[in-house]
């Protein structure tokens, strides 16, 4: 391989990777999530990170930080708590890949200096390399097969180039094994070695060595087919111990490559002719470079972001966050999340998400929405329905905290949701109780275009609002106003200029008048505390509160439909 090409490619990849990392990291100081950090500048954040780092490194917290590094980052403690298979997979990849990287890829720098007489073709390196490779492959498989299935009926969250990276990794390993296997089996490589190391090239003289290598080193000589003369092999062994043994162990210990070599035997001639050793090497190395260059742009980036996030968390455990630190941590969280789906599975409202058919309730989707909201994409024209679904998701969250407690990356998701709700409100996407009140009830009714008494009993709302669609549920009303008299909400709002517009009795009466739409956007319906005082005491047993709840659901549906973009009238 041309050294110049290799180096150019290496440095180019390194440069790309570095640029990518800078770009990604800059986002942590720029992305604004949450109204509380809107005013915080880039430099304030840099300063906060600097101060925080210094403070963490030069204090007793360092011990805790080290512990966190060991337990959370290296041993993946949080993942272990929730997903044993994936944890094991991650551990295998982490160990295998680190070893491969340091001991194999950086062998001239590391291994050769550590171990005297290191040769990649010697035991135990043959075994160890294959073992590491196999660990990575197995780990990747475990991670892949241990992944969470999407919630039935709900869209999978869009993931950051996850498969690209997995494919790349697989490709590197595959080409590695193929390369090694091919090299084992290649008569051409044998030829080159003998030319270089044995010193003589007479075909006949080398025949015993060939026999030995054919029978025990799996070199696929065309002319040496089994059964091979044992005498010849014995001769070869002598030759071997003189010329080759110092560098070459028997390759069976390469428990992956060796069988590969055997498998390649029938086509080795062809491969040799095609110079497979060269292009496989190119593929292998350039795939590695590609992986390196793409690190900041694929899901592998979590290998950077998660440890950082965990360490930042650990550093903040004792001293808490400054708002600038919060801002950074939130932005970091966007990068650290790999949509592993653990939070989705643990989410309290996941059944609701399924029932409502709105994946926007699930944490992974909410995180994506937060990112899209932070960079403004969510508010672009054409994404109104995404935005509304995101708002639904944000405001149906019960803040149960299960996502946070289960996040393997230790993200403070509750904080993120809180911040995102603030951003949604600021973007004109508040909770229904608020967007409904942006316009007076009459405005809503008029925008529904509902005629007087026309639609009250004939529409298809009966399934979601059966009581308000059934005249029998309020035809008993005798207008006594008991409901209003016992209503604490009306009682408390008499002192307020912007108190409730209707009273419970008036809402019931609007139903009777067939003017239900006039009630949908009313403050009364949305300010109802659902305390059930009215329903409990109604002399005519009208289910006032149940109807109020129905009207809200109906309002969300019907007013939501005419709300247009982002509720700005």
């Amino acid at each position: 391989m041309s050294q110049a090409l290799f180096q150019t490619a290496l440095y180019a990849s390194l440069a790309l990777c570095a640029l990518g990392l800078v770009w990604r990291a800059s986002a942590w100081f720029l992305v604004r999530i949450g109204p509380d950090v809107r005013e915080i500048t880039f430099s304030e954040r840099v300063a906060a990170v600097y101060r925080g780092t210094i403070a963490a490194l030069f204090s007793r917290d360092l011990l805790g930080l080290a512990g966190a590094f060991f337990l959370d980052v290296l041993l993946l403690r949080r993942l272990f708590a929730h997903e044993k298979l994936r944890w094991f997979g991650h551990l295998l990849v982490l160990v295998g890949f680190t070893l491969l990287l340091s001991m194999h890829a950086l062998a001239p720098l590391v291994t050769a200096n550590l171990f005297q007489g290191y040769q990649p073709t010697l035991a135990p390196y043959l075994l160890l390399r294959d073992l590491c490779g196999a660990m990575v492959l197995a780990g990747v498989a475990m991670i892949y097969f241990g992944r969470r299935r999407p919630q039935p009926g709900l869209a999978q969250p869009r993931r950051p180039l996850g498969m690209v990276f997995i494919a790349l990794l697989g490709f590197v390993l595959l080409t590695g094994f193929l390369l090694e296997g091919h090299k084992i089996a290649s008569p051409r490589a044998f030829q080159r070695m003998t030319e270089r190391y044995v010193g003589y090239s007479d075909a006949q003289e080398l025949e015993p060595l060939r026999a030995l290598w054919a029978s025990e080193f799996a070199v696929a000589f065309d002319h040496l087919k089994a059964p091979i003369d044992p005498g010849l092999v014995a001769q070869g062994r002598k030759l071997h111990s003189d010329a080759c043994a110092s560098c070459h162990a028997r390759p069976e210990s390469a428990f992956v490559s060796f069988p590969v070599a055997r498998m390649l035997a029938p086509v080795t001639g062809l491969l040799d002719a095609a110079r497979a050793d060269v292009w496989l090497l190119y593929l292998h190395v350039f795939a590695c470079f590609l992986g390196l260059a793409s690190l900041p742009f694929t899901r592998l980036f979590h290998a950077v972001a998660v440890p950082l996030s965990l360490l930042v968390n650990a550093a903040a455990t004792n001293r808490g966050y400054s708002s600038a630190g919060r801002a950074v941590q939130r932005a970091l969280a966007l990068d650290a999340c790999v949509r592993c789906g653990i939070c989705d599975a643990r989410c309290s409202v996941a059944p609701l998400a399924r029932n409502l058919g709105n994946a926007g309730l699930l944490p992974s989707h909410k995180l994506i929405a937060s990112a899209a909201l932070a960079n403004g994409r969510l508010l672009r024209p054409g994404r109104e329905s995404d935005a509304l679904r995101a708002a639904d998701g944000a405001f149906l969250c019960t803040d149960c905290g299960r996502c946070t407690s289960s996040c393997p990356a230790g993200l403070d998701l509750e904080d993120l949701w809180q911040a995102a709700r603030g951003d949604l409100v600021a973007a004109g996407l508040p909770a229904p109780a608020h967007w409904v009140q942006e316009r007076p009830a009459l405005d809503w009714a008029e925008s529904l275009g509902s005629g007087c008494g026309l639609h009250a009993f004939s529409d298809a709302d009966a399934a979601c609002a059966p009581l308000s669609a059934d005249r029998n549920s309020f035809s008993r009303c005798v207008q006594c106003q008991t409901c209003t008299n016992v209503c604490p909400v009306v009682a408390h709002s008499i002192e307020k200029a912007d108190g409730v517009d209707l009273t419970p009795q008036k809402v019931m009466n609007l139903l009777r008048l067939g003017l239900r739409d006039l009630a949908l956007g009313s403050r009364m319906v949305w300010d109802c505390a659902t305390c059930y005082q009215c329903q409990e005491i109604c002399p005519e047993r009208v289910r006032v509160t149940d109807i109020m709840c129905e009207l809200r659901a109906l309002a969300v549906q019907r007013l939501g439909a005419v709300r247009g973009t982002r509720g700005r009238s």
Partner: protein, 538 residues
């Protein structure tokens, strides 16, 4: 009688129904000075006691083609000229199993002959659009029926006429005519509440007294042949259908259900009556309507009804014992010249839909006699909308109130959501016309008392409100409440079963149980310590 004050005018119109008010407007628009006298109030007779149906004419295509054509063309005119009083709901003609197949088959061609559009509607689709239709429906046609608010129509016609100089005298009864040869020189009037006698000298007198036209004509010495048909209608608690729903058959009992804004109005019956006093719906009529109409709209069987009302149709030219429905619903204009009177005309009969046309014809006659040559403009000049007259429209007051929500505007009538400011506006408008408004007047001009409570609560709140604003003084309020509630009672009585009986019981518990309004004497001595006069107290 000689001391009676005298008023002069060109035309005196007797009767403030849809025809009389339309006539006043027509004449005023032609520059003719007129006075309208009404023994009760605007639309207090049959004009205010009907379906409020703007006929497409389809009802009469089989029996009375002339009426059908009139309805069609007049309906079109009103839809353009009195938009504010009309809701173009459209109408269905619906046949159920057992209805006359031949009539159903002939219906479209009959409609076509009268120029009325009648489109076949798929039964399943019709039931989807109007779920209240019976599952036994076999045929549905769509016709251009509409709903019209007769009160708004008359009130605005009168208001327009008054703005052009016409005068209105409510609660004034015609008690006599002073004749001189072939002329009526003056008409003697008696004010009903004040008791003051008056005299009007008019060049022309038009008798537009509706069902009372016979009595008026008789008083003038020019008897006309008329018979009366009483029709009763029921008002539902909630609105059942969006469109007018007609039974597809020859006109019969209870074959129309109208959307009355927030309610449905079901009727009518048709009963010959001989006298006009004490016309009120009966329980038998209510039962008949429920039984018959629920064949077409089954939900009507279990429906809560809030009230019933009955009006009298004046039918001209039939005094025999034939079925009143067979008598033409067409109008009649008498010039009385063959009876020796040259300045009296009687316009009666007809329908709500054709009231404008009737007024036009009567005005033409009067103008010819007066030598006024200006032509009628009511077919081309839209009726100006008047805010004070909008309160009769169901659903208007809730919207108006919700528009002004943040103001200090309490609802006085909760059922129909009529607010204090609405009552104040109506009160002020009447007051400005020199009237002393009563609760009943306000009820006629708004939805107060029209809802489920039938006056039980709103009469009290409205009277308290009027006291507070100075509208009521002394002990008058109690009498007003009694009048108002008593009037609502007339309508309620026939539909008192189920929920509405519970409502009525609550009303009595309040008005009698708590307030003791039925006790003429409360047993309180006039002065402390005295024994009450009147009924002895033990």
């Amino acid at each position: 009688m000689n001391s009676a004050s005298s008023v002069q005018t060109q035309v005196l119109i007797i009767g403030g129904g849809v025809t009389g008010t339309a006539l006043a407007r027509d004449l005023a628009l032609r520059g003719v000075d007129c006075v309208l006298v009404e023994m009760d109030d605007i639309n207090a007779g049959a004009s205010g006691r009907n379906h409020g149906l703007l006929h497409s004419g389809a009802r009469y295509v089989a029996g009375d083609r002339e009426a059908a054509v009139d309805c069609r063309s007049e309906g079109d005119i009103l839809k353009r000229m009195a938009k504010q009083a009309i809701q173009d709901t459209g109408g269905y003609y619906v046949a159920v199993q057992g209805d006359d197949e031949r009539y159903i088959a002939d219906f479209p061609s009959c409609c076509a002959r009268s120029g009325i559009s009648a489109r076949v509607v798929d039964v399943a689709l019709a039931r989807e659009l109007e779920p209240a239709l019976s599952p036994r429906t076999i045929a549905v046609f769509e016709v251009p029926d509409a709903s019209i608010d007769p009160f708004r129509l008359s009130l605005e016609s009168m208001a327009h006429a008054q703005s052009l100089g016409a005068r209105l005298m409510r609660r004034t009864r015609v008690v006599g005519f002073e004749r001189e040869g072939r002329q009526i020189r003056a008409v003697r009037l008696q004010s009903r509440n004040g008791g003051q006698a008056q005299r009007i000298e008019a060049a022309q007198v038009v008798n537009a007294a509706g069902a009372w036209a016979r009595e008026v004509a008789l008083l003038a010495g020019a008897p006309i042949e008329m018979s009366y048909s009483k029709g009763t209608l029921l008002v539902t608690h909630t609105r059942l259908a969006g469109r007018v729903v007609n039974r597809l058959r020859l006109p019969g009992n209870a074959d129309i259900m109208m959307p009355g804004g927030t309610v449905s109005i079901v009727g009518t019956t048709s009963t010959r009556v001989d006298a006009l006093d004490d016309i009120r719906p009966t329980t038998l009529e209510a039962d008949l309507i429920v039984a018959e109409a629920s064949r077409m709209l089954p939900a009507l069987a279990a429906m809560r009804y809030v009230r019933a009302y009955a009006g009298v149709r004046p039918l001209v030219g039939a005094t025999g014992g034939r079925d009143a429905r067979a008598v033409s619903r067409g109008y009649a204009l008498f010039n009385h010249e063959d009876q020796g009177l040259d300045n009296l005309a009687t316009i009666t009969g007809g329908k709500l839909t054709t009231c404008r046309l009737m007024a036009e014809r009567a005005a033409d006659l009067v103008c010819r006699r007066l030598g006024v040559t200006r032509a009628c403009v009511t077919a081309t000049l839209p009726l100006p909308a008047v805010p004070e007259c909008a309160w009769t429209e169901p659903g208007h007051s809730p919207r108006a109130w919700m528009r002004t929500l943040r103001l200090k505007d309490p609802l006085l009538c909760e059922c129909e959501m009529v607010s204090g400011s609405a009552v104040d506006a109506i009160y002020a408008a009447l007051r400005a016309a020199g009237d002393t408004p009563t609760l009943t007047d306000i009820g006629l001009r708004s939805r107060v008392g029209k809802g489920a409570c039938q006056g039980a609560f709103c009469a009290l709140r409205t009277s308290a409100h009027l006291y507070q604003g100075g509208g009521f003084q002394g002990s008058r309020g109690l009498a007003e409440i009694l009048d108002f509630v008593g009037e609502r009672w007339r309508g309620q009585r026939a539909v008192l079963w189920g929920e509405q009986l519970a409502q009525a019981e609550l009303m009595e518990a309040l008005h009698c149980g708590l307030f003791g309004e039925e006790l003429q004497d409360d047993g309180l001595p006039d002065a402390p310590g005295q024994v009450a006069a009147g009924r002895a107290q033990r």
